[in-house]
């Protein structure tokens, strides 16, 4: 049978959908009466090795996540609090790792790179300067600190990452829009930067882990044969957009965590697990200009982070403009990086710290690396209680670092800490919203905003003007919650999240909710709810999907809209009823203080919903809009399958460019394979009507 036919056969195979209702009921009762609910604390006595056994066949990456907190509490090599040093020798490094790691086996794994962050300290810096450029840029956290994304524009061209390709498109003027060139790589493109005529492509190649070989005995020391993923930083000269030239290539063993670009310099953070082979602890390696070098132990920083396992975190600084300037790097032996925040002068890395009770993640260690051009210096480390949600939970302002955390124990509570540049706590506000968890945070100069949630959404406004004494100014309780907060101006915030309805102890999520808050005397000035339960937006997880321009009163949000068919529920639609996806695309809003949030129109790339190629699973469809941007008076919406151009004024269709894209099928992984299907013809493009 041919490969394709086998795929078809598998796809269309009728599989057994058999139920055993008796077993289902019996198991349910057995579980609910099992007594585990009464003895929530019994875990403290549980023998440790069971987990290792349980999770043995699961890959290393998974292992990390799942095993976290299950091992015996390690014994720490005592260091002074906050002390940081470089190792004096390889032997010292080896000794440190072996003494402190507290594992009987080595685990390695990677925290996902997605959660990376930025945002500027000062309120003025947050507010969009009356645009000097006539095109939009990636929605970043901190002014002047660019974040890599899958789409970038310089006002004339669009650069986009799609699978293992980077594509350069002439975007303006729209009538002449076309693909100029494609760069195809071996690994996946995780993000790009554009800086003048230099295009920086971040690529990651992940090897396959042969975990099936692993035997996991309680006494045995079994090792998963480890092969490091490779992170590449490639700089192209694109002065000829039709013919990009690779100018420099760097690589490091390890997983891409995050990156930023400040001025001419790109900073790329890579994590490499520490492992042991033949009783030797590995050292991180980087490769530049074809020469692979091992970073000597005496160049590696460490602090008193006691952990179950360690990672080498290496920050590589590359001058994007001067190919001749050697890259610099700074390596630290730390835990698994969870979040990163970068101000124009400092990189902050945070790591969960193991609590004394097994399974607690009650503290976060924070590390500050001072940066200036290619000079980097590990400057301070400190610790705060609680866990950090994401980059927006952190901020640097006027010589102080602020961080919002949630502590989970029997219940949960939320805190804001202010630290000086030595990362000592100068002031704190703790015990906010007991029982709730931070869903989003944003700092704007002397104010901080927190959304916590369990059933309703309190938006807390916090005065941070005195670094020794942060205080709560007030809060607003409305239904729903926000996953992302964006400053509208100094006194207003936009919140994107979900609407909710309460039922007893529980709240059911409804459609996607967009709110405009006045934070002076906290109130919700306006709100818009899109779709029913099941609706979603990538903005809830990735701020880069959000497009906002105050001066154009413009806000664009990709939305997956779900609707509940009320006729299915003759006795009334219950709160838990899920809608079916009916539409995906960009919602274009006018937003202003006088008029509030007004829908201007909608743009979709799924023009034919009966075509499974377009509408299949909606969210994962290559026709699902993931980003939007504007150049002059043209709105560009982007999916994997196309770039569509509409008038920013009327949303009238202007043009589109089809893109080569990969679908999930294994076909695309075969080198040289291009787009498997032509897009279906038929529906007239641009049929969406502006809505009133």
């Amino acid at each position: 049978m041919k490969y394709e036919d086998l795929i078809k056969k598998l796809e269309n195979l009728k599989t057994p959908e058999i139920e055993l209702p008796g077993h289902r009921r019996a198991l349910r009762v057995a579980l609910l009466k099992s007594g585990y609910f009464k003895t929530a604390r019994r875990f403290r006595e549980r023998p440790i090795p069971n987990w290792a056994k349980l999770l043995a066949p699961i890959t290393a990456a998974v292992l990390l996540i799942a095993v976290v907190g299950l091992l015996a509490v390690p014994t720490f090599m005592p260091l002074g609090a906050g002390e940081i040093n470089k190792f004096s020798s390889y032997e010292q490094l080896q000794e440190f790792v072996k003494t402190n790691a507290g594992y009987r086996q080595f685990f390695w794994g990677f925290s996902k790179g997605g959660d990376v962050d930025l945002f500027s300290g000062s309120a003025e810096a947050l507010l969009p300067a009356p645009s000097k450029t006539n095109y939009s840029v990636t929605n970043i956290q901190v002014a002047g600190v660019d974040e890599a994304d899958i789409v970038k524009t310089d006002g004339e061209y669009i650069y986009l990452a799609s699978g293992n390709r980077t594509i350069i498109v002439r975007a303006y003027p729209p009538k002449q829009a076309q693909i100029l060139s494609e760069i195809e790589l071996e690994g996946a493109v995780t993000g790009i930067f554009i800086n003048g005529d230099k295009l920086v492509v971040l690529e990651e190649e992940t090897p396959y882990y042969p975990y099936y070989d692993v035997r996991w005995g309680t006494e045995d020391r079994t090792y998963i044969p480890y092969r490091a993923p490779q992170t590449y930083v490639k700089v192209y000269d694109v002065s000829d957009r039709e013919n990009p030239q690779l100018r420099r290539e760097l690589s490091a063993d390890g997983q891409y965590v995050s990156s930023r670009m400040i001025g001419d310099y790109a900073y790329v953070v890579v994590n490499e697990p520490v492992y042991e082979e033949d009783n030797e602890v590995n050292l991180p390696k980087i490769c530049s200009g074809g020469n692979k070098t091992e970073i000597p132990a005496t160049d590696i920083w460490y602090s008193d982070v006691a952990d179950y396992y360690y990672m080498y975190t290496t920050i590589i600084a590359v001058n994007t403009q001067n190919d001749a300037q050697e890259p610099t790097y700074e390596t630290m032996l730390l835990g698994a990086s969870s979040n990163l925040y970068v101000s124009p002068d400092n990189i902050y890395l945070t790591f969960p710290v193991w609590g004394t009770g097994v399974g607690d993640f009650e503290r976060t260690s924070i590390h500050r690396i001072q940066i200036q051009g290619d000079q980097m210096e590990y400057a301070a480390s400190g610790e705060v209680p609680g866990m950090v949600l994401n980059q927006f939970s952190m901020d640097e302002y006027d010589g102080y670092f602020r961080v919002a955390t949630t502590t989970h124990t029997e219940t949960s509570w939320n805190n804001v800490y202010i630290l000086n540049m030595s990362l000592n706590v100068t002031g704190s506000l703790t015990d906010l919203a007991q029982g709730e968890t931070i869903y989003s945070a944003r700092f704007m100069g002397e104010r901080g905003y927190l959304v916590t949630f369990r059933q309703v959404d309190p938006l807390f406004v916090i005065d941070l003007s005195d670094p020794n004494n942060p205080r709560e100014l007030g809060y607003l309780k409305v239904t729903g919650y926000s996953d992302y907060l964006h400053p509208y101006d100094e006194t207003h915030l936009i919140g994107i999240g979900k609407e909710t309805t309460e039922e007893g102890e529980f709240a059911w999520y409804q459609g996607v909710k967009i709110s405009l808050f006045d934070v002076r005397n906290p109130q919700e000035v306006d709100k818009e709810v899109i779709g029913h339960r099941g609706s979603d937006s990538p903005v809830l997880r990735d701020h880069k999907a959000f497009l906002f321009d105050k001066f154009r009163n413009l806000m664009v949000i990709p939305i997956l809209e779900a609707k509940v068919d009320a006729s299915q529920y003759p006795e009334g639609v219950p709160e838990w009823a899920y809608g079916e996806p009916v539409w995906q695309g960009a919602y274009v809003f006018n937003i202003s203080l006088d008029q509030g949030i007004q829908l201007k129109g909608k743009i979709t790339h799924i023009e034919n919903i009966s075509d499974p190629k377009q509408a299949y699973q909606y969210f994962w469809s290559p026709f699902a809009v993931t980003r939007s941007l504007y150049i002059e008076d043209i709105l560009y919406t982007l999916s994997d399958a196309k770039i569509k151009m509409n008038s920013l004024e009327t949303l009238a269709y202007i043009n589109e460019v089809e893109l080569p894209y990969s679908t999930w099928t294994p076909y695309e992984h075969v080198p040289g394979e291009t787009r498997p299907e032509e897009p279906p013809a038929g529906v007239e493009p641009g049929s969406e009507e502006p809505q009133k």
Partner: protein, 187 residues
């Protein structure tokens, strides 16, 4: 179930049986179906499902909402149980419904495992095409079995499979490609 809603349920489920019941109701059919389609054996699928949920309940306090959804976590536990089943000649359960019943636990509704099983067995036999291909799949290495089952039987998206297996999406794609090639070779 929406992810953040699930997160809230998982949080509550550690203490509140109602919340756990909601999770159970949502995932029992999926986990049982997955176990059945991997093993083509109703009794084993029952045991694996029971074991998976007991382990989930026991370990719920350790479940932290980090990089993996609750659903993927359950699939992971189930996948491990299944792999254990294939690895050992005799699958060893730590909990079984029979034992619980022996300890005096009474199911609420009349539950005749025998007749239910016989009926289900008949239904399973009718899926000849499936059984034919399943028989070929079980001879592949576990990593290929997993990825084929998750993709083609459980209709999981690549990103979900990546989450369940703890691999990169690109890795899952190439694994899937190799798995189908291997399966083709078994003809």
């Amino acid at each position: 179930m929406d992810l953040s809603e699930e997160r809230e349920l998982v949080r509550q489920a550690q203490k509140a049986p109602d919340a756990f019941a909601k999770l159970y109701d949502q995932y029992y059919p999926k986990i049982f179906g997955y176990a059945l389609r991997r093993t083509a054996n109703l009794e084993v699928a029952q045991d694996i499902t029971s074991e998976t949920f007991f382990k989930a309940l026991k370990k719920l306090w350790q479940f932290r909402w980090r990089d993996v959804s609750f659903s993927s976590w359950l699939y992971k536990i189930a996948a491990n149980e299944i792999n254990q089943y294939f690895r050992k000649a005799e699958y060893k359960k730590s909990v079984s419904l029979e034992e619980l019943q022996e300890q005096g636990f009474e199911p609420v509704s009349p539950y005749d495992p025998e007749s239910e099983l016989i009926e289900a067995q008949e239904k399973l036999k009718q899926h000849e095409d499936f059984l034919e291909i399943q028989e070929r799949i079980v001879h592949l290495p576990a990593k290929y079995q997993e990825v084929i089952a998750l993709r083609f039987f459980e209709k999981k998206q690549i990103n979900e499979i990546a989450e369940i297996l703890g691999k990169k999406e690109g890795t899952v794609k190439s694994l899937l490609h190799r798995a189908v090639e291997k399966l083709r070779e078994t003809e």
